[in-house]
């Protein structure tokens, strides 16, 4: 199980990656899985136990995202 963070734009995704790194939350940039969206954009993946911390870090920077639990 992984937590996926989905963004509407690359701008938001890169900004989010920077915010998560600043908050010392380990994450990876991955393509948005086809099972979730037909979009060709990028998503960020992190461990499920970092979900709340990730949400807090992004909220503090006013970065909108959708959290998705991926069971692949």
């Amino acid at each position: 199980m992984k937590t996926l963070l989905l963004f509407r734009s690359t701008h938001d995704a890169i900004k989010a990656e920077r915010a998560l790194m600043s908050a010392k939350i380990a994450c990876d940039v991955i393509p948005v899985p086809r099972t979730i969206s037909a979009d060709c954009g990028i998503a960020i993946e992190c461990a499920p136990d970092k979900r709340a911390a990730a949400r807090k870090a992004l909220d503090s920077k006013k970065i909108a995202c959708i959290l998705h639990e991926d069971s692949r």
């Binding site: 509407r8 734009s9 690359t10 701008h11 940039v29 060709c40 954009g41």
Partner: protein
């Protein structure tokens, strides 16, 4: 001697990091922006967003998403003028507009019935803010102001103009001012600001940007792939994607980022250019076109000669001294009509931060010889 005094056309030299950053992208980094998630593509996306953030900071824009990359200031201005519904509306313009604004508006006048009015102004083209506040037509719907004239270097009082305009949306053409004058987009309260990367910012050609205060109020200039919402036939409705269809000038933006980060300190002081202008004023048979208020003078001016036309004068400087200047109308016939130099035009002298006081003195010596022709 640095003989290049045509920096208002395009700057030269560039900081050394510009070419290095562009070569790094072309030879080593490669990859697209915003299209994929492999390491190379993500590295490119990080750098593009980093440059966007740096440029937004320079323009006093708190949310970099409101700053979209364009090919140049002309592209940015056209994005605004074509993306608003101005049909049949009245547009106020400064008296020193460049063709980047005048031509799109002329087209809108012909095709969509747009009406253009010049703002009240002083003899040097500086907008008279008090008169403007007292004379704004009730049906004025939009305004455009060239921040720093590319003919005589007048810096317009944007904060005062915006205050006088009130709720009328304002587009600032900052093609010449970006890099030379502090741009305070949010402090001014302007709605749009167009900049180019290759002039005062010292970046490469083919780079520019547009500040859009409210992305919802503007339709995109071109449509196409953005790497987002790819399942939809419609453009994304959010910035920056809404205004960035197609692959951007990635190599150029890498260079622009280096230009911003590696910007050298000016090689002359704030007093050197005014002193140079005083020297020109003392020359017989040379007329100087400049800001009447020295506090509103940018780093460029124009001159005319009592006997030689602008092309002859520019050729003399080039053939005798190797000095490079721009003769003619400088793509700004409206400005020249305002200054009384249409259609003859002027010789424009546009230094850069690389020029030294000694080079101003050498140029003054050349102008002295020109005055005796």
């Amino acid at each position: 001697m640095n003989t290049y005094f045509d920096n208002a056309a395009t700057s030269f030299p560039k900081p050394p990091g510009v070419a290095a950053a562009m070569a790094r992208y072309l030879n080593e980094t490669g990859g697209p922006y915003g299209r994929s998630a492999y390491a190379r593509a993500v590295a490119v996306s990080r750098e593009i967003e980093s440059v966007r953030a740096d440029l937004a900071s320079l323009l006093c824009i708190s949310d970099p998403a409101h700053l979209v990359f364009t090919h140049n200031a002309t592209h940015a201005i056209n994005t605004v003028l074509s993306g608003l519904d101005l049909a049949g509306k009245r547009v106020l313009i400064s008296p020193l507009e460049h063709n980047a604004t005048a031509r799109p508006l002329e087209r809108l006048k012909r095709e969509r019935g747009v009406v253009m009015d010049a703002m009240p102004h002083f003899a040097d083209g500086m907008v008279d803010v008090q008169c403007l506040a007292a004379s704004i037509p009730k049906d004025a719907a939009f305004a455009v102001v060239n921040h720093l004239s590319n003919v005589n270097g007048v810096i317009q009082p944007i904060a005062g103009i915006k205050h006088a305009l009130g709720a009328i949306p304002l587009l600032v053409d900052a093609a010449q001012s970006a890099g030379h004058v502090r741009l305070d987009c949010e402090g001014w309260g302007v709605d749009f600001c167009a900049v180019t990367g290759h002039k005062g910012l010292l970046g490469p050609t083919g780079t520019g940007a547009l500040y859009v205060r409210d992305p919802r109020a503007l339709q995109p200039f071109i449509t196409g792939g953005t790497g987002s919402r790819s399942d939809s036939a419609e453009m994304p409705d959010f910035a920056p994607d809404k205004f960035e269809a197609g692959t951007m000038n990635i190599a150029g933006i890498f260079g622009l980022g280096a230009a911003i980060r590696d910007r050298p300190a000016p090689r002359h002081s704030n007093a050197d250019f005014p002193a140079f202008l005083e020297g020109i004023c003392a020359l017989k048979d040379i007329r100087l076109y400049h800001a009447l208020d020295p506090a509103h003078q940018g780093l460029l001016v124009s001159i005319s000669h009592a006997r030689l036309d602008s092309a002859q004068a520019s050729l003399f400087l080039n053939s005798r001294f190797g000095i490079e200047t721009r003769a003619g109308l400088q793509c700004a016939p409206l400005a020249h009509r305002t200054l009384g130099t249409f259609p003859a035009g002027t010789v424009r002298i546009a230094p850069s931060i690389y020029h030294t006081p000694q080079e101003f003195e050498q140029l003054l010596g050349a102008l002295s010889e020109l005055s005796r022709q």
